[in-house]
């Protein structure tokens, strides 16, 4: 069963508008969440993260919101730029060594974002 779910495989947004990427999780033991961006033929690159003790983290055009009661997080990109077009992965971690592994990330399947000029 998937512990981290990204239910939208793709999203298309006009340049300058807001992109909202969503992620749901099932494991209440997750205490750290990350977003990675992946271009074709490259490895994922870290974008932004949030600890479970916070509900918002902002870095420039990128903001991640966490709703623990709903087990939901979202990534907002505003304004969206064509260079943001990539696959975005949501990832979660239980730093308390859940499952016997310290620090490995549980990834969603990704959402492909296309920003149209």
């Amino acid at each position: 069963d998937q512990q981290v779910k990204q239910n939208s495989p793709s999203l298309s947004v006009q340049e300058g508008r807001i992109s909202i990427l969503n992620c749901d999780y099932t494991n209440s033991m997750f205490d750290y969440f990350l977003w990675y961006k992946k271009y074709p033929a490259e490895g994922p690159t870290f974008l932004i993260s949030i600890s479970s003790i916070k509900d918002k983290n902002e870095d420039g055009r990128f903001t991640v919101f966490l709703n623990k009661s709903a087990k939901h997080l979202s990534l907002h990109i505003v304004p969206s730029q064509p260079g943001d077009s990539a696959v975005y992965f949501c990832a979660a971690r239980n730093t308390l060594n859940y499952g016997g592994s310290q620090g490995n990330l549980i990834f969603g399947k990704g959402t492909k974002l296309s920003v149209k000029p």
Binding site: V4, Q6, Y32, L34, Y36, A41, E42, G43, P44, T45, F46, S49, S51, F89, A91, R93, T95, N97, G99, G100, S101, Q102, G103, N104, L105, I106, F107, G108, K109, G110
Partner: protein
């Protein structure tokens, strides 16, 4: 500075053959992870190394998969008697330490195709 490197970038092999995939982590990173991404799927954790501790192999899908990390640096993932379902992009990542806020830095991956 140099990032995580992986070789080869692409590998095509026949079913039943063994393959070795290599990962060079960022210098000084003690934690090393292997993941794979099958078509249409997210990244699936395979194995994790931390310093000189015994590796966490909980994600390996079968006993055909094994990995080692020599001298706390370079790691090799070996797949024996490859099957078509092993076809995927195999990604290596490293981080300064495990369980920290830390981002994991990923290599570009090795695309494995089993024919």
């Amino acid at each position: 500075g140099a990032g995580v490197s992986q070789s080869p970038s692409n590998k095509v092999t026949e079913k039943g053959k063994d393959v070795e995939l290599r990962c060079d982590p960022i210098s000084g990173h003690t934690a090393l992870y292997w993941y794979r991404q099958s078509l249409g799927q997210g990244l699936e954790f395979l194995i994790y190394f931390q310093g000189n501790s015994a590796p966490d192999k909980s994600g390996l899908p079968s006993d055909r998969f094994s990995a080692e990390r020599t001298g706390g640096s370079v790691s090799t993932l070996t797949i024996q008697r490859t099957q078509q379902e092993d076809s995927a992009v195999y990604l290596c990542a490293s981080s300064l330490a495990p369980g920290t806020a830390y981002e994991q830095y990923f290599g570009p991956g090795t695309r494995l195709t089993v024919t």
